[in-house]
């Protein structure tokens, strides 16, 4: 192992590989019996060997998807436990369990059994809290995983399909979460369902029909809990697992993306083998995620369903919020002004409700799912990409992402406006108006700031490559001049800073052909050229060997060699 002290060139990465002589170990002989029995009947050795020898690249951010996967498994496991005690019925009974404040209260069996799980089943509260915490962690990690994939451009060809699958998974996760926290039938969950019925009623033409189809009667009826239960434990998990399986198979088939770096190319994958390294690391990581969830559930109470009592349509509690992943939708509802509701031809249109609920949720996920195809259309790039972008090297994409996140954040914060108002002593009306303005202003600011930060970081990278790293050593020349000595980067470090490509905007082609006749599709091309200009007009080129040679030649005068492109020069001149 310590023999390999020389680096391997990129075109001969396998040259140093020495086939290790392996004699069947004792372990191999021992598993031979069972494994042989299975292989005789399935022929699975070849496929399993391939999987076990598979190489995965290593980076902390690749762990985010793993957290999502493990949280989902924890939810499935604890959820199965909960079904043993939970009674998905809205049949009314008088509570006789051990929680004294509720004794004698008339409540649904769903709520009573949730209290039972929390107070009478040993470890029941723990399983319930693990289930809820893991569900929250699932959606957090799905979201952050999605951001990682977005900001590194991992959604590009050939992974657009997997991005779309992931988008559907993310939406289903939210629906699954909502169905789940509606089940206990306490005051909070019932209030959430009441709002959902309100959203559904705003569907044009068939809103009231859908509401009665789902609830089976006037709200709340007797059917919504059993129906949500069926969706929560059977329908949605089945789809989730099917899509998740496809998601993970595609990752294996397409091989994981990797960050650019020495030895890493678009045609290889550099990392560790599943057996033994990832088996231990990823397998161990499942236990870490599960263990942390258990610890959180031991220390931090979540969804104390016993506090507010059974659902009653005439009761409400102030300062109540849905689970975090519904905040943005609920926040949008709080920001939308009421005056946009109108009646036309005797029918009521309620965009003040519909826009924040039945429109917003599908819209967000449609935009997400469509993004790879839009970007591909703009760049016209049909190549396969297995090397990730560092976010700074795709400034406009990164800025768009941050702008989108800022919109999401404003909407989510608007959902806790009452809490913020109380904690900070502000008027809720002012706060709401502030958020309404921020919703439109903040994304523009965030876009601009992020793009500028990306471009500066890129220029800093260029500067480092051209002039080396600052050593902190100050040299005094015989004439009395002081300067800091810079040290050239080694080729491995340098490679990480120069291995990216900088797209040029596509040119606007003539709108008329040679005969002066308007060309078909000219409008579409113009739009595309405009978007391409928007994406790539400000760009920083990677340093070339010639530029580096020129920089060396020029010693410390660096003004001459900065101009990688005219655009770049324009940006630079703003600084000098």
């Amino acid at each position: 192992m310590s023999e390999t002290t020389v680096s391997r060139p990129a075109d001969g990465l396998r040259a140093g590989d020495v086939p290790v002589e392996r004699r069947p170990s004792g372990a191999a002989k021992r598993v031979g019996g069972v494994a042989g029995w299975v292989d005789d009947r399935t022929g699975s050795a070849k496929g399993v060997n391939y999987l076990l020898r598979k190489v995965f690249p290593d980076h902390w951010s690749f762990m985010l998807g793993e957290v999502a996967m493990y949280s989902m498994i924890i939810c499935l496991l604890t959820g199965a436990f909960l079904t043993f005690w939970f009674v998905p019925s809205m049949g009314q009974i008088e509570y006789q369990g051990s929680y004294i404040p509720m004794q004698g209260v008339i409540m649904s069996e769903a709520y009573a059994s949730t209290l039972n799980i929390s107070f009478d089943i040993k470890g029941g509260l723990l399983i319930r809290q693990i289930h809820h915490w893991a569900a929250l962690m699932f959606i957090v990690s799905v979201s952050v995983h999605m951001m990682r994939v977005f900001f590194t451009g991992a959604f590009r060809k050939p992974r657009e399909l997997n991005w779309v699958i992931g988008t559907v998974l993310a939406l289903l996760a939210i629906v699954e979460g909502f169905a789940g926290y509606s089940l206990p039938d306490d005051l909070l969950s019932g209030t959430g369902l009441r709002a959902m019925q309100g959203f559904i009623l705003t569907v044009p033409v068939i809103g009231s029909y859908i509401a009665y189809a789902l609830f089976g009667a006037d709200f709340p009826g007797e059917l919504i809990i059993p129906r949500l239960y069926s969706a929560h434990v059977l329908l949605i998990p089945a789809i989730l697992i099917a899509l998740f399986t496809a998601h993970i198979i595609l990752v294996a088939v397409q091989k994981h993306t990797q960050f650019p770096g020495p030895g890493r190319t678009n045609d290889n994958v550099v990392g560790y083998r599943v057996m033994p390294v990832y088996a231990a690391k990823a397998g161990g990581f499942f236990f870490i995620v599960f263990g942390l969830t258990a610890l959180i559930s031991a220390f931090v109470q979540i969804n104390a369903v016993w506090v507010h009592g059974p659902y009653d349509p005439s009761a409400v509690t102030a300062g109540a919020q849905p689970d975090w992943y519904m905040w943005f939708s609920d926040g949008a509802l709080r920001l939308l002004p009421g005056w946009i509701e109108f009646t036309l031809f005797g029918f009521t249109f309620s965009p003040n409700i519909a826009l924040g609920s039945i429109v917003l949720l599908p819209l967000v996920y449609t935009v997400l799912g469509a993004y790879p195809f839009v970007e591909r259309w703009i760049t016209g790039d049909t190549r396969e990409h297995h090397l990730l972008d560092r976010p700074r090297n795709a400034p406009v994409r990164t800025a768009l992402g941050v702008a989108a996140i800022s919109i999401y954040t404003v909407l989510a914060l608007a959902c806790v406006n009452d809490i913020i108002a109380i904690k900070m002593g502000l008027a809720i009306n002012d706060l709401t108006i502030f958020f309404r303005i921020a919703l439109f202003v903040l994304p523009v600011i965030m876009f601009w700031v992020t793009k500028r930060i990306c471009l500066s970081l890129q220029r800093q990278d260029r500067d480092k490559v051209l002039h080396g790293r600052e050593t902190g050593t100050i040299v005094r020349t015989p004439e009395g001049k002081f300067y800091e000595r810079h040290e050239d980067l080694d080729e491995h470090t340098r490679w990480e800073l120069v291995d990216f490509e900088s797209h040029a905007p596509v040119q606007i082609s003539p709108t008329v052909d040679a005969n002066g006749v308007a060309r078909k599709g000219a409008g579409k091309d113009r739009l595309r050229a405009a978007l391409s200009h928007f994406y790539f007009k400000d760009r920083v080129e990677p340093v070339t060997p010639a530029e580096l040679a020129a920089a060396h030649h020029d010693g410390h005068g660096h003004e001459e060699i900065e101009a990688g492109s005219s655009e770049h020069a324009r940006i630079e001149s703003g600084q000098h």
Binding site: V6, Q197, Y212, G216, N266, G283, A294, L336, T382, E547
Partner: protein, 399 residues
């Protein structure tokens, strides 16, 4: 090849893009890159024999770990991993002990958390240790003792070879040919029709049976205050007393002092027991009313304000408690300003102006219930709500 990062690799651009007038131009891109030393537009300098781009330097040399170099360090790592696994075993045992030894109802004091459920706390902590011990041990093992030299696996373009693709088309075509599908259009169309329709019975069963679909909006506009519903769908209104919720007692005007607010349900609704609870919940979703008393002079001198006062009794007014936004109970009453606030989405209604919306996402005022007093001096509803209560819906304007 160092450049292979930036090459299309064996991939051929899709047809539609290559014919596109503004298609991505790989050659132009390479040309631009190879003149990257230009100092300015139009001022080209030779490359001086230097490559256009840096070359991939290949994998850096492997740095051995302590545990690779010294057996003592490896031994230490082994002991650390074993300790972590040991912690897991102890956690598991402790969990089992706690499960059987600690009653589920016992509470304990924990600094910073206050009094908490002892069973939940101990079980969770020990389960956490049991799992974390395994996880941390395995990861530490992988990091210290398992191979840490990166290995290289080659990728292949996702695309199948042209021959495979052609073969695929061939197989599909042959299949259509040999099954005579292409020669017998009758089969094609009837099969298409049958496959297109077969799911219909299933869909119709589910959707059709969900119901009730008999103009459900008619239910939305009627409340318990409308009175007894006859078989023909008409309602007969009787003045109904306003009952305190949940005490189920009638209210005299003199009991309602200025500044107070009562939760009210119609007379008779709360009489039911457990069996009628469903019915009660469904009715409460529409019939809930808030009763407030204002100084009669506080009502605004607007059309709405005058109507609000006229429909009340000596400054006592009754309004639907169901928010006209998405139906949450409007649960917050501000005495000084006479504002009603819905805690769900902060729609704010001004009671002095007939509960007009003065802030937030609701559009319509809360419907008012016209009240008076009966012979025995109790507050009663003089007539049912004259408009649907609760959230908006498509057919709301329909009678």
């Amino acid at each position: 090849m160092a450049d292979n990062v930036n090459q299309p690799g064996g991939d051929t651009p899709d047809k539609d893009v290559s014919t596109d007038a503004v298609a991505y131009d790989q050659e132009a891109y390479d040309r631009d890159v190879s003149t990257a030393v230009s100092l300015d537009e139009g001022d080209h300098v030779g490359t001086g024999g230097l490559p256009a781009r840096f070359e991939n330097p290949g994998l850096p040399a492997h740095q051995p770990r302590m545990s690779d170099l010294s057996e003592a360090a490896a031994k230490r790592a082994e002991r650390q991993v074993a300790t972590l696994f040991g912690i897991s075993i102890l956690g598991t045992i402790a969990f089992l002990v706690a499960y059987f030894a600690v009653p589920v109802t016992r509470t304990m004091f924990f600094p910073g958390l206050g009094y908490i459920n002892m069973s939940n706390f101990l079980l969770g902590t020990f389960l956490g240790l049991s799992l974390l011990g395994i996880g941390a041990g395995a990861v530490h093992w992988a990091k210290t003792l398992m191979p840490d030299e990166e290995e290289v696996e080659m990728r292949h373009p996702m695309r199948s070879s042209d021959e495979e693709r052609a073969r695929f088309g061939q197989i599909l075509g042959d299949g259509g040919e040999s099954s005579q599908l292409t020669r017998r259009p009758l089969l094609k169309y009837t099969l298409g029709g049958a496959l297109g329709l077969f799911a219909l019975p299933l869909v119709v069963q589910v959707v059709g049976s969900l119901g009730p679909f008999d103009r459900p909006y008619r239910n939305l506009r009627h409340t318990y205050w409308d009175g007894e519903k006859a078989a023909d769908g008409t309602y007969t209104f009787q003045p109904m007393r306003l009952m305190r919720d949940p005490q189920n007692t009638p209210i005299r005007p003199e009991e309602v002092t200025i500044g107070s607010a009562y939760h009210v349900q119609p007379e008779g609704l709360l009489d039911g027991g457990v069996q009628e609870q469903h019915h009660i919940l469904e009715e409460k979703g529409k019939s809930s009313v808030l009763l407030m008393r204002l100084n009669p002079d506080d009502f605004q001198d607007t059309e709405g304000g005058r109507k609000a006062r006229d429909w009340g009794y000596e400054g006592i007014v009754a309004y639907s408690k169901v928010c006209t936004h998405v139906g949450c109970p409007v649960g917050l009453y501000e005495q000084h300003t006479h504002h009603l606030l819905c805690p769900c989405h902060q729609s704010t209604f001004d009671v002095t102006d007939d509960c007009k919306v003065i802030f937030g996402p609701a559009k319509r005022p809360l419907p008012q219930l016209k009240i008076t007093v009966d012979d025995e001096g109790y507050l009663v509803a003089d007539q049912p709500f004259d408009e649907p209560v609760g959230p908006s819906y498509w057919e709301r304007e329909k009678a």
